[in-house]
C-alpha cells in the first residue's frame, strides 16, 4: 500500500511542478539554514575530553582582600596564584592534579632553512598528560622527577614535529626554546581538544600548543607567560608574574574518579581557605568552586553568543518556511479535491486518503532534505570562510547528516498534517456534482 501511495505522490508532485518546487525550496532553505547553525552549535558545545570530562575538575579559591566582595554573590578568583597553586599541588589530595599556564616562546630550529619563530606553549606539571588522556605518537611524557629537577625536557605537538623534523621520530633530539636547550622526550599524537577547556584565557577554539615544558623549567629559564593575569590589591606584573605577587595566572585541574571524592575535595579547599585566612593571607570567608569540564565550559559561556543567536534566527526562518509550506500544501491538496472525491466515492476510507497525503508530504520532505543538505554544506563552507576562531571546526558529521533528514521529514509531515486533514473533510458528493 505504501508503495502505491508513494507512486501516487510522485505522479501528483509531477503534475504541478511550480507548487512542488516552491514547497521543496521552502523546506530546503529552512532545513539548510537550521542545519548549518545547529551543526556549528553542536561542534562548539561538544565534549572536548569524552569519557573523562566528568572526572576532571577546575578548582578555584579566593585569596583576595575584601575590596569588591559581595557576600554570597562573588565568584572566587578565576585563576590560581603561584602560592596557592603550589600548595594545592603539593597537598596531592586528588587522584591526579596539574598546575599549568600558557606561554609564548621563541623556537630556534637547528635546521638553518627555517627562521626562528614564536610558538604557543603550555607550562605544566606532568599529570597534564595522563589526566587529559593525551596520546603520544613517539616517546612519552616526562617523569615526576623532571618536574622536581627542573629538567630541560620538552614534549612537542605532531604539527610542530612535522614542521621541524618532517614527521619523523624526534625523541632524543634537542630543541632550542627561549635560549635553553631542551631534550625532546615525546611527540603528541592526534589530539585536538575543542573547546580548549583547560585554559580559556587565551582562546576558546583552535589548534592546541606546540610546546609543552615542565612548569618548573619554564620558570627557571624565564620563558614568557601568555594569557590573562589578574592582580588584586597592590599587585602588579610584567610579562612574567612574580611568584610572590598578588596575581593569579595559573590553572589548577584535579582528577577525582569517584563522585563522593568531589565533595571531599571541596571540603578540603574550604579548609585550605580557612587555614590561609588564619595565616592572614586570605581575607574573605572561604569562597571555593569545583566545576567539572562541562560545568566549567558552561560557566565560561564558551559558545559565542552570536552562534546561539544565529541558531535562533535559523529556527525562526525554518518556522516561516514551514508555515509557508503548510499554505502551499493546503493549496495543492485542495486543488485535487475532485480526485480525492472520486477516491472517496469509490470506497477509500478517510484514513487511507490521509495516509496517502502524508506520504506525499513525506516525499516533499525527503526532496527538501536533500536540497537542505546541499544548502547546509554550502552554509558550513560559508561559516568556514568567516574570521571567527571556531570557523575551521564547522564540519558536518554523520550524526548531523542523519539529523538533517529526520528534521526535514518530520517538519514536512508536520506541515502536511493540517492540509491533509482538511482535504479529507471533503464531502465526496459535492465534488462529484461539481464536476
Amino acid at each position: 500500500m505504501l508503495g502505491y501511495y508513494f507512486d501516487l505522490a510522485l505522479r501528483s508532485l509531477k503534475r504541478n511542478k511550480v507548487l512542488t518546487a516552491l514547497m521543496v525550496l521552502a523546506i530546503a532553505l529552512g532545513i539548510g539554514a537550521s542545519m548549518t547553525t545547529l551543526t556549528v552549535l553542536h561542534v562548539l558545545s561538544g565534549d572536548p575530553v569524552p569519557g573523562r570530562s566528568s572526572t576532571l575538575y577546575y578548582a578555584q579559591v579566593d585569596p583576595r582582600d575584601l575590596n569588591g566582595y559581595l557576600p554570597g554573590n562573588s565568584q572566587p578568583m578565576y585563576q590560581m596564584s603561584w602560592i596557592d597553586g603550589m600548595n594545592l599541588l603539593r597537598a596531592k589530595r586528588a587522584d591526579r592534579q596539574a598546575l599549568m599556564t600558557g606561554g609564548l616562546v621563541p623556537v630556534q630550529p637547528d635546521n638553518t632553512r627555517l627562521d626562528p619563530f614564536y610558538e604557543a606553549a603550555r607550562f605544566t606539571t606532568v599529570d597534564f598528560f595522563s589526566m587529559f588522556g593525551v596520546p603520544f605518537a613517539y616517546g612519552h611524557a616526562w617523569h615526576a622527577v623532571d618536574d622536581e629537577a627542573r629538567a630541560r625536557v620538552v614534549v612537542i605537538s605532531s604539527a610542530l614535529n612535522d614542521k621541524l623534523f618532517g614527521g619523523k621520530d624526534s625523541t632524543g633530539q634537542t630543541l632550542r626554546v627561549s635560549g635553553a636547550t631542551l631534550r625532546i622526550v615525546g611527540v603528541i599524537g592526534d589530539w585536538h581538544p575543542n573547546p580548549q577547556f583547560y585554559d580559556l584565557t587565551r582562546k576558546n577554539y583552535g589548534e592546541n600548543e606546540g610546546v609543552y615544558v615542565p612548569l618548573s623549567t619554564s620558570q627557571d629559564v624565564g620563558m614568557h607567560h601568555d594569557g590573562s593575569v589578574t592582580c588584586w590589591g597592590k599587585g602588579g606584573t610584567g610579562i612574567n608574574p612574580d611568584h610572590a605577587s598578588r596575581c593569579a595566572w595559573l590553572q589548577f585541574w584535579v582528577q577525582l574518579d569517584k563522585p563522593d571524592e568531589a565533595a571531599a575535595y571541596k571540603t578540603f579547599l574550604v579548609r585550605y581557605s580557612e587555614q590561609q585566612k588564619e595565616l592572614g593571607r586570605f581575607q574573605r570567608p572561604p569562597n571555593v568552586q569545583l566545576r567539572d569540564v562541562m560545568q566549567w565550559l558552561d560557566y565560561n559561556q564558551v559558545v559565542p553568543d552570536d552562534v546561539r543567536l544565529q541558531a535562533w534566527l535559523a529556527f525562526g526562518f525554518l518556522l516561516v518556511c514551514l508555515v509557508n509550506t503548510v499554505g502551499l500544501m493546503l493549496a495543492k491538496f485542495m486543488r485535487r479535491a475532485g480526485e480525492l472525491g472520486v477516491r472517496r466515492a469509490l470506497g477509500a476510507s478517510k484514513r487511507s486518503l490521509f495516509a496517502q497525503l502524508l506520504v506525499e508530504s513525506g516525499v516533499v520532505g525527503l526532496a527538501g532534505g536533500s536540497g537542505g543538505l546541499l544548502l547546509a554544506l554550502l552554509g558550513l563552507w560559508l561559516v568556514r570562510q568567516q574570521p571567527a576562531e571556531y570557523a575551521p571546526l564547522a564540519q558536518l558529521d554523520p550524526a548531523m547528516l542523519l539529523a538533517t533528514f529526520l528534521l526535514a521529514v518530520s517538519a514536512s509531515l508536520l506541515a502536511g498534517l493540517l492540509p491533509a486533514w482538511r482535504a479529507c473533510q471533503i464531502a465526496p458528493a459535492v465534488q462529484l456534482k461539481g464536476n
Partner: protein
C-alpha cells in the same frame, strides 16, 4: 474600493488567509529584530577610537634567546625609527584601542578604601603616546619627562608595597572626569586605583576608547606615565601620513631587524588592519543578518505567489461572473491588491507585537537595548512592499480572466 466583499470572501477561506497572515507576522517580527541587530552592530563598528587611525602602523618584536639591555635597545630603536623618511612620531605601548591581543584594566575609585569600584577603566602605559596616537588633550598637560617611571621599577614598587617609585599623576578621558566629578573641574583632583594608590589628574583627553571590555564603558581610559621597552611586550607605534604607511612599515621592519638580528617580528600592520580584525566578527554577523532578511522576504514572497495563484484559480468562475457583470480588469487587479494589503496589515499588526516579544527575549539573554519604535515601520514597509510585489503576478493573471468563463461549465 469596497473592502466588505473582500472580507466576506476571506471569511470563506479562513485557514488559507490565516496562514498568510501568520507567515507575514513571523517575517515582520524577525525582520524588525534583524534590522535592529544590524543597526546595533553598525553602531558598534562605528565606535570612535579617538586616535589618528589612518596614520598609524604597529610593530611588535619578540626576542630570541637572551634579552639584551632592553632600555638601551629601545632608545636606539626609537632614534633609528625617527630617522626614517615620513615618520612623524614614535611611541610605545602594549595595546591600542579595540585590541584582540589583550587588555590592561584597573578599578578607579574616589576614596582610598572603597568596597566597590566606582568604575573600571582601560589602562594605557608607554612613552610619547599622546602625540603619536593623535589624541586631543582638552585640559591640562601631557606628562613631563621627570614624571615617567620605568615599567620594571613600577612593578617592583607595587609588589614591595613601597610606593615611592610609583607614578603619581595620571591623564584621564572626559568620560571618566564626567563620571567621577560631574560638572566639576577634574584637573588637580585625586583618584585612587582599586589598590588604594592615589593619582593626581593632570590632564583630560577628549576621546580614547579602551582596548576591549567595551561593555564596561567604551570611553573609560586612563594613561599612566610608565616607560616601556619592547622586552616588556610593548609595540612600536609609528605615526606617518596615510599614503606613507606601507613604505614606512617596510623600512621600519628592515631597520629594526638590522639593529638587532636576534629578534622576530611578531606583528607588522597598519592600525586600520588591526581595527578591521577586531570588528571582523561583527561585520560577518551583520552580513549574515542581511542574508537572513533577504532569504525570509524571498520565501515569504514565494509563499504569497503560490497561495494567491491557488486562490485565483479557485475563483476563476467568480472573477468571470464579476467581469460579465461589468467589473473592469482594473477592478479585479485592485481587488487582489487590496486583499493582500488587508492581510499584510493584519500580519504586520500581529508582527509588531511578536517583534516586541522577541526583543524582550533577546534583551534577557543578550546585552541588547529595547527595540526603538523607528524599527517598526521598517518591518511594516518591507512587508507591504513584498506583499504587493508578490501579488502582482497572480493578480494580473486574474485580471486577464475573460468574462466568458462565467458562462462555461455551469
Amino acid at each position: 474600493m469596497d473592502i466588505l466583499p473582500i472580507l466576506a470572501t476571506l471569511r470563506r477561506h479562513k485557514l488559507t488567509a490565516w496562514l498568510l497572515v501568520l507567515v507575514m507576522a513571523l517575517t515582520c517580527a524577525i525582520v524588525c529584530n534583524a534590522v535592529f541587530l544590524i543597526g546595533q552592530l553598525l553602531q558598534r563598528m562605528d565606535m570612535p577610537s579617538g586616535i589618528a587611525e589612518h596614520e598609524l602602523v604597529q610593530i611588535q618584536l619578540g626576542y630570541i634567546g637572551d634579552t639584551p639591555d632592553a632600555k638601551a635597545q629601545t632608545q636606539t630603536d626609537v632614534a633609528a625609527l625617527q630617522q626614517i623618511a615620513g615618520v612623524k612620531q614614535v611611541g610605545l605601548d602594549r595595546y591600542l584601542p579595540f585590541s584582540l591581543d589583550g587588555s590592561s584594566n584597573t578599578g578607579i575609585n574616589l576614596k582610598p578604601q572603597q568596597q566597590q569600584n566606582t568604575l573600571d577603566a582601560g589602562q594605557y602605559l608607554g612613552q610619547n603616546l599622546l602625540p603619536t596616537l593623535g589624541v586631543r588633550l582638552v585640559e591640562g598637560r601631557n606628562f613631563l619627562p621627570s614624571e615617567y617611571v620605568d615599567f620594571d621599577t613600577a612593578v617592583a614598587a607595587l609588589n614591595s608595597g613601597d610606593m615611592k617609585g610609583f607614578p603619581q599623576v595620571m591623564i584621564i578621558t572626559q568620560a571618566i572626569a564626567e563620571r567621577l566629578w560631574p560638572g566639576q573641574q577634574a584637573l588637580g583632583k585625586t583618584l585612587y586605583t582599586d589598590g588604594g594608590i592615589p593619582f593626581r589628574v593632570i590632564g583630560v583627553i577628549a576621546v580614547l576608547a579602551r582596548q576591549n571590555n567595551l561593555q564596561q564603558g567604551a570611553q573609560y581610559s586612563t594613561y599612566w606615565p610608565i616607560r616601556m621597552t619592547s622586552a616588556d611586550g610593548a609595540n612600536y607605534f609609528i605615526r606617518c601620513a596615510p599614503q606613507d604607511r606601507e613604505s614606512v612599515l617596510k623600512a621600519a621592519v628592515t631597520k629594526l631587524k638590522q639593529l638587532n638580528p636576534s629578534r622576530v617580528v611578531l606583528k607588522a600592520r597598519t592600525y586600520d588592519q588591526a581595527r578591521r580584525a577586531f570588528f571582523a566578527n561583527d561585520r560577518a554577523m551583520a552580513g549574515m543578518l542581511v542574508g537572513v532578511i533577504v532569504a525570509l522576504l524571498t520565501v515569504t514572497a514565494l509563499g504569497i505567489v503560490g497561495l494567491t495563484s491557488f486562490w485565483v484559480s479557485q475563483r476563476r468562475r467568480m472573477i468571470g461572473v464579476r467581469r460579465a457583470l461589468g467589473a473592469t480588469r482594473g477592478d479585479i487587479l485592485r481587488y487582489f491588491q487590496t486583499e493582500n494589503f488587508l492581510l499584510a496589515t493584519i500580519g504586520i499588526a500581529l508582527g509588531m507585537v511578536l517583534a516586541y516579544g522577541i526583543n524582550l527575549l533577546l534583551m534577557r539573554h543578550y546585552e541588547l537595548p529595547r527595540l526603538p519604535a523607528v524599527y517598526f515601520p521598517i518591518g511594516a514597509i518591507a512587508l507591504w512592499v513584498i506583499g504587493q510585489l508578490a501579488v502582482l503576478g497572480p493578480a494580473l493573471r486574474a485580471a486577464a480572466v475573460p468574462p466568458v468563463v462565467a458562462t462555461r461549465s455551469v
